[in-house]
Amino acid sequence: MRNTLHSYQELNSWLHRSNAAAKLFAAILIILITTLFTPGYWPGIIFVTTVLISIATSARLHWPALLKRLLLLETLAIGIALLPLLQGRGLELFIFSLARISLCLFTMILLSSTTRFADILSVLWQLKIPALLITTLALMYRYLFLLQEEMQSLNRARNSRTFTPQRQLIWRLNADLLAQLFIRSSERAERIYGAMKARGWKG
C-alpha cells in the first residue's frame, strides 16, 4: 500500500512545465466534481475519463507506469467499495463507485507524475501554510530516501548474520532496526541544526 515508487516521470511535457499551483487546483477541482456526481450519473464518469486520458496521452506519459501505480492502489479501493455491495445495494452502484474512486486515484497519479514535491512546497508557502509545517515537510522529503537507504543497509547487515528467519525473531530485529534508525535520525537532526545555524537560520 505504501510503496517507495517515486512516481515522478522525468519528462518535459506541457503538463510538466505547467504551474504547480494550477495543477494542484485543477486536480482538486476534478476530484471534487467527480465525487459530487450522483450515483449512476455515467455521462459524468465518461467525461472525466476522456479528459484524464487525453491529458495523460498528450503529456506523453509512460502508460505502463501509470497503470501499475493505479493497480497497486486499487486493492484498498475495492475493499471499501465492497461494503455497500455487501449490504445488497446493487452491482451497478459498486461498479460506479469503483469507477469514481479510480478516476480520483488516477488524477492524483497524474499530478504526482508531473509535479515536483519541491514545487508543491512553494505553492503551500504561498498559501501561507505555517513555516514550521513547511520546514517539516521539506526536511522529511529531503531525508526520506536517505533514511530508506540507511534502513536497507541496516537490514542487509542483519540479514547477513541471520540464518533462521523465525517470525518472532524478525519482529524483534525489526524493532531493533527502527530504534537504531531513530537514534541515527535524531543525531543527524542535531547536525543539520548546526548546518542551518551555520548559514544564518533564525528559526
Partner: protein, 318 residues
C-alpha cells in the same frame, strides 16, 4: 485506514477538515512556543523516519505482513503536539505524491491519525503512568511499556471508530456494518501496533535513554498543558458530533448505542473464537448485557496480555 476520495460526503469532509486544521493550528502554536529551537529539524527527520518505518514488513501469517502506523510511537518520542505535526506531514506527502489517501479526505485522515491517535495515546499513557508515581519520580520501565502497549492499542481502535463513523455519516456504508468491521479489524491490528511500538521504545531506552524521559515531553509548562487540553477538546467535540445523529434518530438512545456495541462485541467474538459461543454467557438473557460483557472480557484479555508482554519486555536481559 487512509480513506480514499469518493467515500466521504461534502459535509463530513469539510467538517473533519475544519477539525484537522484546528488541531494542527493548536499543535503548531504549541511547538513554536515550547519546543527548543534545536529540536525543530527533528520534526522533519522524525517524519521521514515514520514514513520509512511504515514500509517495514512485519510477517504475520502465510505470506501476509503487518505495518507500523507509528503515531503512538511519535507521541511517546516527541510529545503529542509534535506528533500531530509529524504525522500530518507524513499524511500530506502520502496524499499528494503517493495517492495514498484522498485529497478530499485529507482532513479526515489527518484528524483520525494525526490528532485522535496522539491525543488518545497521550491521555492513556499519562493516566497509566500516573498510577502510584509521585510527580517528581521517573516511572519505571515496566510501567512505561505497559502504558505504551495499552495506549497504542486503544488509540488505533479509537481512530478506526472515528473512521467508521465518518464513513457511516457519509452514507458510504451502514454503521451496523462498518463499525464492527473496522473496529474489529483494528483491534487485531492494534495488537501488532502496540507490540512493535513497545519493542522499539524498549530498544531506544536500552541504547539512548536520554532520548526518552520527561524531557521528551517538552517543557511541561502550563501553556503546553493548555494546548493539550484544547486538542482533547477537539477530539471530544468530534465524538459528540459523530455519535449524536445516530443517537438522536432513535427513540431510546441508550439502547441504540448498546445495540451498536453488541455488533462490536460480535466482531471481536468472531476473531477470538471465544469460549463464549453465540456470544451469550449462559444464564444471562438480555442481549445488551451479553454484548457489553463480551466486549469487556475481550478488552480485559487484551489488557492482561499487555501486562505480561510489558513485563517480558522490561526484563533486564531482553
Amino acid at each position: 485506514m487512509h480513506i480514499p476520495d469518493g467515500f466521504l460526503s461534502l459535509p463530513v469532509a469539510t467538517g473533519t477538515a475544519v477539525l484537522a486544521i484546528a488541531g494542527l493550528a493548536i499543535a503548531i502554536r504549541d511547538v513554536k512556543n515550547n519546543l527548543p529551537e534545536k529540536k525543530v529539524p527533528l520534526l522533519g527527520l522524525a517524519a521521514a523516519f515514520i514514513f520509512a518505518a511504515q514500509m517495514l514488513n512485519f510477517p504475520v501469517a502465510a505470506g501476509t505482513s503487518g505495518h507500523l502506523t507509528g503515531a503512538t510511537l511519535a507521541t511517546v518520542l516527541l510529545g503529542p503536539s509534535a506528533a500531530v505535526i509529524v504525522i500530518s506531514a507524513v499524511l500530506i506527502l502520502q496524499c499528494l505524491m503517493f495517492a495514498d489517501g484522498g485529497i478530499t479526505a485529507l482532513g479526515a485522515n489527518i484528524f483520525n491519525l494525526a490528532v485522535v491517535v496522539p491525543v488518545v495515546s497521550y491521555v492513556i499513557y499519562r493516566f497509566i503512568i500516573g498510577f502510584g508515581t509521585s510527580s517528581n519520580a521517573e516511572p519505571d520501565l515496566f510501567k512505561k511499556l505497559l502504558a505504551i502497549l495499552i495506549a497504542a492499542w486503544i488509540s488505533i481502535v479509537a481512530a478506526s471508530i472515528f473512521c467508521a463513523f465518518e464513513l457511516a455519516l457519509s452514507n458510504a456504508a451502514a454503521l451496523q456494518l462498518v463499525l464492527p468491521a473496522m473496529s474489529g479489524v483494528h483491534m487485531v491490528i492494534g495488537l501488532g501496533e502496540a507490540a512493535i511500538t513497545a519493542f522499539v521504545i524498549a530498544n531506544i531506552v536500552r541504547l539512548r535513554p536520554d532520548l526518552l524521559g520527561s524531557s521528551s515531553y517538552v517543557n511541561n509548562t502550563a501553556d503546553n498543558e493548555r494546548s493539550f487540553f484544547a486538542l482533547g477538546l477537539i477530539v471530544s467535540l468530534a465524538l459528540a458530533i459523530f455519535v449524536s445523529p445516530f443517537a438522536s434518530s432513535s427513540p431510546d438512545g441508550l439502547e441504540f448505542v448498546a445495540e451498536q456495541l453488541g455488533f462490536i462485541a460480535s466482531a471481536t467474538n468472531l476473531l477470538t473464537q471465544a469460549p463464549l459461543p453465540d456470544y451469550s454467557v449462559p444464564g444471562i438473557e438480555s442481549l445488551m448485557i451479553d454484548s457489553l460483557l463480551v466486549g469487556l472480557i475481550g478488552t480485559l484479555s487484551a489488557f492482561v496480555f499487555a501486562w505480561f508482554f510489558a513485563r517480558w519486555l522490561s526484563a533486564p536481559n531482553t
